[in-house]
Amino acid sequence: MARIIVVTSGKGGVGKTTTSAAFAMGLAERGFRTVVIDFDVGLRNLDLIMGCERRVVYDFVNVIQGDANVGQALIKDKRSPNLFILPASQTRDKDALTVEGVGQVLEELGREFEFIVCDSPAGIERGATMAMYFADDAIVVTNPEVSSVRDSDRMIGILSSKSRRAEQGQEGIREFLLVTRYSPERVQRGEMLALEDVQEILSLDLIGVIPESSAVLNASNAGSPVILDRDSNAGKAYSDMVARYLGEDLPHRFLSVEKKGLFGRLFGG
């Protein structure tokens, strides 16, 4: 049985798709057969971040409606042999995602893959509730900012009550906090909520802190998950997050302002 992980948030635009792409690529690189599914029906973003937009023939909704089988819709990643993408459709409406339909597709994928990563749309509408309903684990993506933290808190409440696991009286979804777009400089200036503040309010297991980084935009421009940019802080932070998810105990990095030595200051290093 595959483990199903939903990447979710209350507020939009906080970094779910960036995270889904990086996380799925990270798992695949470590040798796990991984599929990443775009639940953002109607918007379709994941294929762009993964750089496979021109290879989309069939999508998630086609599979649910029986126009294609899962094998026809899956796109094989060109960089990792263990990674596949199931894209969302751009045009169809969200009601196409039914509990039975999504459940069947996940069951079928579960026989082939070890990890199923679900890139959820923001909010609590259909695509989002479908993505979280079947999840075993949830990664709650949060920016250090009032509305994002507040919406994450609401999401945590929904996650613990509206899942299949909760309905069936199983052990609840494991929930992890991922803080993204963190800027130690702004925290130091007192302009941004510090990590401890966010943690104090949300009290979830912290799985990672991704710094604000221009590498993320570069990666999305290139259609290559930022985790592959191994020299970038964001790439390293995502790589750490994958390791922690798999059980490694790593300290969090990039939490304080980098002090450049005299040498660095002189040469702009």
Partner: protein, 81 residues
């Protein structure tokens, strides 16, 4: 003066304000917002009070607290200085 402002601005405390607002918001959300008549009750009370005292529109807050088996309707009215 300008120099003083410059030094003051260096350490903003907007993050502290954000944290305080969040703690209140989240506590409110977690209580589930209370019974559905609360907003109307709040408006009615405000109108009655404004007949007698010139209070601001945000001077009245109502909340339902649960304390063990009891429900307590908490009223807060801030009078002008």
């Amino acid at each position: 003066m300008a120099l003083l402002d410059f030094f003051r601005q260096r350490k903003s405390n907007s993050a502290a304000v954000a944290k305080e607002r969040l703690q209140i918001l989240v506590a409110h959300d977690r209580r589930g917002g209370g019974p559905s008549y609360l907003p109307q009750l709040q408006r009615d009370l405000l109108q009655v009070i404004q007949k007698y005292v010139a209070v601001d529109n945000d001077a009245v807050t109502v909340n339902v607290e649960r304390d063990g088996g009891q429900e307590i309707l908490e009223l807060n009215i801030v009078l002008p200085d």
